[in-house]
Symmetry: C2
Subunit: 339 residues, 2 copies
């Protein structure tokens, strides 16, 4: 394989954001194409587009779409429209830091041109979003190289959720490491946790790795204990949605038990994430807002009912892995013990 053959999760062309509809995978490869920021917000909420870096990039382009739409309003109404829309975008999902980070970066461009809500400004915002996308691609590649450097000779890697091309603008974070190993001819053996409730592991990770010719084996999340304790993997790599100053890491629900089992068996547990995922404004995981998802996602799968109706459900989207359980952070700026 080569890096160019890896799929792209989103692109922006002709003033439209085009995103793979990830809710339809793996059955169908369909795209959502829109010039309406509200559709982008809805796509982020419904996980049409997802992954901390992915929603950051989509959010950035959404800001450009907001400013273009504001030009259809009278000039005195534009500022309020933009403020309101940016709040909507920022709050589409609360846990990943990248989304609000990207919106703030675009807001800074708007604020550096006070009183000038023009098509030229919209063009500058599009250019800024392009930069975020290009930087994300670069960060993914660097994460991939740093991570591949520290993998053992015969890499057998467990991962969780989807942290690949479908979660970023580039080759991914944890999966970026795996793709880089594959390009280097190291033939990594990959184990993917299915990642209930939304099955990003089985639906997305298995799909994109198999498509790229990577040797991937699927398991239910509960089977990771048996996998790790029986010595079948020599490293675990996951992504991150937000990392606090002390290294506490919010990531997809089910990450924390993997870190605890790795500690029990002295297996390396890595977090691969771009620098944009580090939130220096908070000291620890206790300050992170954790999104609670709906009961339906647990009680139903693809329309099939798994439990009695009205079942009460506990469904946080993320859990917090304490920094001390993380062997190292693989970032675009190198490998660090703590942020």
């Amino acid at each position: 394989m080569n890096f160019e053959s890896i799929i792209e999760s989103l692109r922006y062309a002709d003033n439209k954001l085009v995103m793979i509809d990830q809710t339809k995978l793996p059955a169908k490869l369909e795209y959502v194409s829109t010039d309406d920021y509200r559709v982008v917000v809805d796509s982020i909420k419904r996980l049409v587009i997802r992954g901390a870096p992915g929603i950051g990039i989509a959010g950035a382009y959404a800001v450009a779409l907001v400013v273009i739409e504001s030009l259809t309003l009278t000039s005195e109404k534009r500022q309020e429209f933009i403020s309101h829309a940016l709040r909507e975008i920022s709050s589409a999902r609360p846990t990943a830091v990248n989304l609000s980070w990207a919106v703030e970066r675009l807001r800074a461009v708007i604020e550096s041109h006070p009183g000038e809500i023009t098509l030229e400004l919209a063009e500058k915002l599009k250019t800024e979003a392009d930069s975020i996308l290009r930087e994300d691609k670069d960060m993914c590649r660097r994460i991939g190289e740093f991570g591949a450097d520290l993998a053992p000779a015969n890499p057998a890697i467990l991962t969780h959720c989807n942290t690949g091309a479908l979660a970023t603008g580039g080759i991914g974070t944890a999966l970026g490491v795996i793709y880089t190993l594959q390009v280097r001819g190291k033939s990594p053996k990959v184990y993917a946790g299915e990642t209930r409730p939304l099955l990003q592991g089985s639906r997305l990770t298995v799909w994109e790795l198999a498509r790229a010719g990577v040797d991937v084996t699927l398991l239910v999340d509960g089977a990771a204990g048996a996998l790790i304790s029986s010595g079948m993997v020599n490293m675990v790599i996951v992504g991150a949605d937000r990392i606090a100053r002390n290294g506490d890491t919010a990531n997809k629900i089910g990450t924390y038990p993997l870190a605890v089992v790795c500690k029990e068996h002295d297996i390396s547990f890595y977090v691969a994430a771009p620098s944009t995922t580090f939130d220096d404004s908070i000291e620890s995981g206790e300050e992170m807002p954790i999104e609670e998802r709906s009961a339906e996602e647990v009680v139903q799968v693809m329309g099939a009912s798994l439990a009695p109706p009205e079942t009460k459900v506990f469904s946080p989207a993320f859990d917090i892995t304490p920094g001390e359980l993380i062997t190292a952070f693989i970032t675009d700026q190198g490998v660090h013990k703590r942020p």
Copy 2:
């Protein structure tokens, strides 16, 4: 609630074994009724009837059905037919010790009447199977009492898989403790892991506990780490399929990570099991055969396809929890630190 209102998973009447078809729950409450031991074997394999004690009881009645059927053969063919059929029953599922234990107990009745394959023998076998069922009911009640005695004042309990009436001939093992707490008016707050791949938690445990008025909340298996680390439960109770002399315990896949997370947070981790689950013939978990289930169970849910076809799957039905991670064993003979 009272104990009499709890559903029965199987009964034997008019030379037929009648079992709830647990593959149809929670959508439909249907029964399989048969006088053919092959249907019982198939029911055990397909998890129509399941749970270590449950398949032991079903296997015992299957032996009675074998002997009744053998009476339709010429007398010289009976012994070979019976030997062959008992092997089939014993090997329907390999991990739980109760199935082969029950078959051996019935075989001893046959062998104590050499050369006498008669309707009277069949009647004795039915009586022996009735004893196993009645003993199981008694053991469940005693496990429930011992377990309820050690629960804290406001029990908040995480459990895994299904260990209730649907898994036994009585009120269950881990769920027997929960039912007993409910009957005592302790209003336990119960959290049930959904238990992928076959969803015994969401389909069966939630169904039977809700039916009995117990306060139950469902979670995906990966969310147990967040649940335990956030202090929402004060004990974990699971069942067992086989327990070695050193306390190593085979139980439904996903049990072991719960025990490791409990250790990390100093939460009590109990195994509730009848004495028949203790296998004194083996020293440790390393000697236990672990059943590997089919890829389809992971890749498909209720006919919906979750991953690309031809996906490779790692799907052990059970994992091994080391004896040293188990706070205590709640058995019908009392609570023990180690077997």
